[in-house]
Structure formats: structure tokens, C-alpha cells
């Protein structure tokens, strides 16, 4: 089981802030492929990966990173703090 979190417009497009999933995905990219196949709202949120960032267990990571041992995945747009 893995917790998947969404922030900012990713959260709005998907329509929920977080969910817990059962997945066999080996990498973040595999997880994205699984999510996109679920429903059009996921397809819309993940249409352009260059507009997205991913964090694994609260550390910025890459889409080709492995998911083994990861408990929390978060997807969000580029950050705009400060």
C-alpha cells in the first residue's frame, strides 16, 4: 500500500487531496501510467509530466525513480513559495 498525495491544481483536477493505493508499479512513471488508465481526471492531471514534480517520502525525486520501500508519493506543480 502506498499513500499518494496531490497538491495545488493537481489536487483540483483529480478532485481529492490524497488516497491510499495498492500498486505493483516499479517506478513513479509506472504509477503515473496506472493512474492515467483509471479515469479521465487522472489523464488530465498527468497529461504533461514536464509541468509536474514528484516527491518520494517528502523528498524531491524524479519520475524514473524506483518505488520500492516508498510509503508516500506526492505529485504537484513547480513550487511558488517565497
Amino acid at each position: 500500500m502506498i499513500d499518494v498525495l496531490y497538491f495545488a491544481w493537481v489536487r483540483e483536477r483529480i478532485g481529492l487531496p490524497r488516497e491510499t493505493l495498492e500498486t505493483q508499479a516499479a517506478t513513479v512513471a509506472d504509477l503515473v501510467t496506472e493512474l492515467k488508465a483509471r479515469e479521465p481526471r487522472y489523464e488530465a492531471a498527468f497529461a504533461d509530466l514536464s509541468a509536474l514534480r514528484v516527491a518520494l517520502d517528502q523528498e524531491l525525486s524524479e519520475f524514473d525513480a524506483p518505488l520500492k520501500g516508498v510509503r508516500e508519493v506526492a505529485f504537484f506543480p513547480p513550487m511558488t513559495g517565497g
Binding site: 497538491f7 495545488a8 517528502q58 523528498e59 513550487m79 511558488t80 513559495g81 517565497g82
Partner: protein
Amino acid sequence: MKISVQAAPFDLGAELSEFGTGRADVGAVVSFTGIVRDDSGQMHALELEHYPGMTEAAITRIAQEAVERWDLADALVIHRHGRLAIGETIMMVATAARHRAAAFEAAEFLMDYLKSRAPFWKKEHGPGGTSWVEAKDTDEAALKRW
């Protein structure tokens, strides 16, 4: 080192009057304050979303790097989230060092990194609804100088 991610306003003067005091190795304190501005003249409010847990960890890591790299005596970061009105203070950083060059540089480094490496997202509320503020290419480019 003090890191705070909070919805509540903070007292800039009180924070600065305490910061970097009472020690013989501090000759310079630099601070930056971020304020909600309205470029369109029609904005009602600014909303800041963040990623609880990761936000604190990311800011702490950035501040630790600044302390080590510029040999700072102390560093302070306060960043607010939630709904803010125009003119309200969003955040502040402060750095304390032996000399001013290190304090200025470290404060700029902190700001450049907080802008695109701390998980905050800004949303503008206006008469036509809301819109997410997009990250600028210049924000990412600013990191390259460090």
C-alpha cells in the same frame, strides 16, 4: 536556527530584535520580508497551499546548507500559509554572520531556494475567480548561480 511554517501573522520587529543578539561573533544581520502584492489591481487575496511535513523538512535543509556554507551564527525562516490579504507579510528570512557579505549572500541563497524548492503553491483570488501562480523560468535559473 528557527524555522516556522504557520498560518498566523508574525511580529517582524519582535523577531528581528531577538535575532542574532547576545553573542560576540555576530557583526551583521540581514533580513528579507516578502509581502503580498497586487500587480493586476484586482486581486482580492492570495492563498498559499503547502505540504505539511515536507515544507518544514525542506526549509530546514536549505537553512542548514546556508549556515554551513556561509558559516552563519544563526538563520531564521518564517513562512505563512493560508489566505492572505494584499499588504500582509508572507514570509521572512534573516541571517546573522560575522560580516555583512556573508549575511547578504546567505539571505539571497535562502530566498532563491525557498522560492522553488520549498513546497508552497500560490493561488490568486480575483473578480474572475482563482488562478494558480505559475513558476517562472527565472526562478529556476536563479539557483544556478549557487
